[in-house]
């Protein structure tokens, strides 16, 4: 295990909370879009997480069921574990998850309610439909960045091939996602990708 041991004072917890509150409002296009900023803050600036712990948090959240935003909870958990106790880890989850969710959910709820009441307005329709191309581009970009950052020491082309084939299978067939994920896990465990 490549853990670090850190000490967190109460103002460090506040700092962490405040940072996630800010990130929440900056997380246009999803929490995953702020990962580079989280990396700068947690790994480079404060050293609260190791590079491997950071990568594992994202990979585990991808592999586990549930919304991807739970990678934030995992980072909070690991920061707390590095600080030395399960209680601190639970505090880490509470601080990071509340921080990343509170501002954005309040804001989004208000805006969405307003938009729903005024859905016939030309400006509201123009917003929803005019955003569609860039929204789709963002999804494809996220896929690209994820495929690029899937770590490993070997050649990269098997990973890309696997991503491409999974994309085609999921896009074009009704096969359940679990089969595709299971196949990916198996290929990885056997050392093919």
């Amino acid at each position: 295990m490549s853990a670090v041991h850190i000490t967190l004072a109460w103002h460090d917890w506040l700092n962490l909370f405040g940072h996630y509150l800010l990130l929440s409002l900056m997380s246009l296009g999803g929490a995953i879009s702020t990962t580079s900023e989280m990396h700068r803050f947690l790994v480079e600036q404060h050293g609260w997480l190791t590079q491997a712990q950071f990568n594992d948090s994202i990979a585990l959240a991808q592999a586990a069921p549930g919304p991807n935003v739970l990678f934030v909870a995992l980072m909070g958990w690991k920061v707390g574990m590095n600080a030395g106790s399960t209680a601190a880890a639970l505090l880490g989850v509470l601080v990071t998850m509340t921080g990343i969710l509170l501002p954005s959910t309040i804001f989004t709820y208000q805006v969405a309610q307003w938009g729903h009441r005024n859905r016939e307005l030309r400006a509201v329709r123009a917003f929803k439909q005019g955003m569609a191309p860039v929204v789709i581009a963002l999804l494809l970009s996220t896929a690209w960045i994820l495929a690029n950052s899937a770590g490993g020491s070997g050649a990269r082309w098997p990973l890309w091939l696997l991503a491409l084939i999974s994309c085609l299978v999921i896009w074009r067939t009704k096969l359940h996602l679990l089969w595709v994920l299971g196949a990916g896990a198996l290929l990885g465990a056997l050392g093919f990708v």
Binding site: M1, L28, G29, G30, A31, A52, D56, A59, L60, Q62, A63, A64, P65, G66, P67, N68, L70, L74, I100, T105, F107, T108, Y109, A112, G115, R125, F127, Q129, G130, M131, A132, P133, V134, V135, I136, A137, L138, L139, L140, S141, A143, W144, L146, A147, G151, G152, L159, A163, S166, L168, W171, L177, V180, L181, A183, G184, A185, G188, A189, V193
Partner: protein, 200 residues
């Protein structure tokens, strides 16, 4: 007998046909929990299949529009989407219920996974399996983007404009790694202005 005729059924308003919808808050909570637990590597594809294709709580158009808003707003997309869908049926209580359904059980599960994973993190098979699943996740997200691009056919923007904006967005964000906010502001703003001029 002819003098008595049963009251004619009220004609359904054409804009809002009698559609399936969640009957109670527990049903809503359960639906979102089940949905979240099926979503490996992202829940979006599952939301579409469960709520639009199977339960028919939303039409395709409603889903795409809600998704666009959920994606533009700050915050995790699927969390935003679940709040908006919950709010359609039960207001604020619905939004909070859907949110809790989406997060509560998966959160407990992922923490348990993290504890297990910490013991096996150095195992090359486990690391390889995670790497393989990450590649599949990338494919899954790309497939969701491709599926949604079908909606562009009904867009007020012309196809060349859609392609130009989409391609520019991909180059700026994925290849040049520019920060998201200015890209959204400029390209999204351009799309909105073009759509505004076409709509009336």
């Amino acid at each position: 007998m002819t003098s008595f005729s049963p009251p004619a059924p009220a004609p359904a308003p054409p804009a809002a046909p009698d559609r399936p919808h969640p009957g109670s808050l527990p049903e809503l909570f359960l639906a979102f929990t089940v949905l979240a637990l099926q979503g490996f590597g992202g829940v979006l594809a599952v939301v579409q299949r469960e709520l639009v294709d199977r339960k028919r709580w939303l039409t395709d158009e409603e889903f795409i529009e809600d998704w666009a808003v959920a994606q533009i707003m700050p915050g995790p997309n699927v969390v935003n989407l679940s709040m908006m869908i919950g709010a359609r049926y039960f207001g604020l209580r619905g939004a909070l219920t859907a949110l809790a359904g989406m997060l509560a059980v998966p959160l407990v599960l992922i923490l348990l996974l993290a504890i297990v994973h910490a013991r096996f993190a150095d195992n090359p098979q486990v690391a390889g399996a995670l790497r393989g699943m990450a590649a599949v996740s990338a494919g899954l997200i790309a497939a969701a983007g491709l599926k949604m691009s079908v909606a562009l056919r009904r867009s007020p923007l012309s196809l060349p404009w859609c392609l130009a904006i989409g391609a520019a967005g991909f180059v700026l964000v994925a290849l040049l790694r520019l920060p998201l906010a200015p890209v959204l502001l400029v390209l999204g703003g351009l799309g909105c202005v073009l759509a505004y001029r076409k709509l009336r």
